[in-house]
Amino acid sequence: MTHLGYLIAGWGISLVVIFAYVISLFRRARSVAPRVPLDRQRWMTSSE
């Protein structure tokens, strides 16, 4: 395979950045959620 370094850099950086963002979202949500009553978290009280 040619240009392997460019492919690893392009795909690798993108996936790592997105994954890191997901982790940061989850961590922030986990720290804020306990301060909010369950009845104010609409997706937790919906009929899903």
Binding site: M1, T2, H3, L4, Y6, L7, A9, G10, W11, I13, S14, V17, I18, Y21, V22, I23, L25, F26, R27, R28, A29, R30, V32, A33, R35, V36, P37, R40, Q41, R42, W43, M44, S46, E48
Partner: protein, 265 residues
């Protein structure tokens, strides 16, 4: 804390059964896209008509399946959703619209940054340059990226509340003016860009390449939706938390006042 624990404990924060289903479908889509992009599609190799020499992008073309889907979401879909939600906020003045705009623009800024980065990485083997200051599409995308960062900065520095939401909404709408300019830049300034005109609309690419590219666009749209959904719920939690803090403070002041009154009596 391990990643597994973070995912598991998030089940009670911003996840719901439907969002988990979307997340799993997106993950499956990303893995499938990766298999198609790296193992099933062919590299771009053509023969020079006169010399017979092999020319083309070779395996560098596999960046197409990443860069183009992100280039549709980062500089187009996300700012558009942000601008529409901002207009919605200016009309309705409800938190739902404000939090939606913030979520779309934050996720859009990440995709927009990645578009510039992957474009630069792709440009080095294909155009023999990391960056071209004279390229109008690059410059207009960079301007949009800076505007999205400006929006996010404004949300941090401005005082919280309606004033912050109103100012941010205006910035989001102004940023959206850039979208048609980015889109038409390769037509309007044809001689001042390394980017080619649209090959998607004229079906100038092979079947499997086209299929993989379409799959990439769908998968990244799913990823965008999933990220915005979680970012929206986080934003909602933050607003609710702030309100809860205010209510708690008021309650504390009231009970302090009651105690003081009883003490005086």
């Amino acid at each position: 804390m391990s990643t597994r624990k973070i995912f598991k404990r998030n089940q009670g924060a911003t996840s719901s059964p439907k969002s988990r289903l979307l997340g799993l479908a997106t993950l499956f889509g990303l893995v499938t896209l990766f298999v198609f992009a790296f193992f099933l599609t062919d590299p771009d190799v053509r023969l020079h008509p006169t010399t017979g020499e092999e020319i083309g992008q070779f395996d560098a073309v596999r960046l197409l399946y990443l860069h183009v889907p992100m280039a549709i979401i980062g500089p187009y879909v996300a700012p558009l959703v942000g601008a529409v939600a901002s207009v919605g906020y200016l009309i309705k003045r409800t938190q739902w619209w404000d939090v939606t705009a913030h979520a779309a623009i934050e996720v859009g800024a990440i995709f927009c940054g990645l578009v510039l980065l992957t474009g630069s990485i792709w440009g080095r083997p294909v155009w023999n340059t990391w960056w071209e200051w004279g390229d109008v599409r690059l410059m207009t995308t960079l301007i949009l990226f800076l505007m999205l960062l400006g929006y996010l900065a404004l949300r941090r520095v401005a005082p919280d509340g309606q004033k912050q939401a109103r100012r941010s909404a205006i910035v989001a709408i102004v940023a959206a003016i850039n979208l048609p300019i980015i889109n038409r830049s390769v037509e309007w300034w044809e001689s001042r860009t390394l980017h080619q005109k649209s090959t998607l609309s004229e079906l100038k690419i092979e079947d499997l390449t086209f299929f993989t590219l379409m799959m990439g666009i769908v998968v990244f749209l799913m990823l965008f939706t999933w990220l915005v959904l979680h970012r929206f719920r986080l934003g909602w939690l933050e607003k609710e938390s702030l309100e809860q803090d205010v209510l708690t403070s008021i309650e504390e002041r009231r009970s302090e006042a009651t105690v003081n009154e009883e003490g005086t009596l």
